[in-house]
């Protein structure tokens, strides 16, 4: 039968050192992964072009160019109501973000 022999125990300081190194390595690995992920994200983001519609396929311009020719009040009123002027300067925010 084996008996407990205190002399066979590993040195206390060595065990502690091993234990304290483990979490440290884990933290370093996690930080490295976060940094690599962040750099990858920034790289992909910067390479993405900001979409600015070309004058040829601008839906806002197209919708403004479409209207009836009738002079009935209902028709005129419908076209006046369909005139969306709020998005005329759409795209300014994207440009401002680029200039930040």
């Amino acid at each position: 039968m084996d008996t407990f022999n205190p002399n066979q125990m590993p040195p206390m300081s060595a065990t502690l050192e091993k234990k304290s190194m483990g979490p440290l390595i884990a933290v370093i690995i996690i930080l490295a992964l976060i940094i690599i992920g962040g750099l990858y994200f920034l790289k992909t983001r910067s390479s993405q072009p900001i979409y600015i519609p070309s004058p040829a396929n601008d839906t806002i311009t197209e919708s403004l160019n479409t209207q009836s020719t009738s002079d009935s009040l209902n028709s005129i009123e419908a076209d006046l109501n369909a005139t969306d002027l709020n998005n005329l300067d759409q795209g300014a925010a994207a440009i401002e973000a680029t200039l930040q």
Binding site: S54, L64, Q67, G91, I95, T98
Partner: protein
């Protein structure tokens, strides 16, 4: 003593070419470092210029789009004004009082002209002096102010046209009831 002197001369003779070689090598390394530094500097400058050019291109494209939209908006308002004029003429022929509507139409047309002037005032491109993003940001601020002013003027003209139609409605209703 004589031996020592001889030894010294020998050592000097042997060390001299090495010293000269070390000097040449030092110069070469220095030149290489200088060349590398210059190359990095040029590369950084080139990248910066490319980034600035790209932003400038985007801004120019945006301003071009806005100018096209504003011109389309003005053209739309002018066509609507023509249609309203045609309706006013028909209602006048039917003995409907359109005095107020006519007054509003004069106002609407004046507002359209103001909007046109505002659109013409929009700077269409970023100047070549804007060589940094900071300078472009400043120029874009000015463009944005002009764009917003023109947009407000277009909206005002549109609102007056809406008022004209509202003003014409009772007369139109009366006409429809009579018929």
């Amino acid at each position: 003593m004589k031996n020592k002197m001889l030894l010294l001369v020998l050592v000097s003779l042997l060390a001299l070419p090495n010293l000269s070689f070390a000097e040449t090598k030092k110069e070469t390394i220095k030149d290489e470092i200088e060349a590398k530094r210059e190359s990095i500097k040029n590369s950084v400058e080139e990248r910066r210029q490319n980034a600035v050019d790209k932003i400038k291109e985007r801004v120019d494209q945006f301003v071009q789009n806005v100018a096209n939209r504003y011109e389309a908006a003005i053209s739309r308002l002018e066509k609507l004004a023509d249609r309203i004029d045609s309706r006013i003429a028909k209602m006048e022929a039917d003995k409907i009082d359109v005095t107020k509507a006519k007054e509003l139409m004069v106002k609407a047309k004046a507002k359209i002209e103001i909007a046109k002037t505002s659109i013409n005032g929009i700077t269409t491109t970023i100047s070549t002096n804007a060589t940094t993003t900071a300078l472009m940001k400043e120029e874009f601020k000015i463009i944005k102010t002009q764009v917003e002013k023109a947009k407000e003027d277009i909206k005002t003209a549109h609102a007056v046209l809406v008022d004209v139609v509202k003003n014409l409605k009772p007369g139109q209703n009366k006409l429809e009831t009579e018929n």
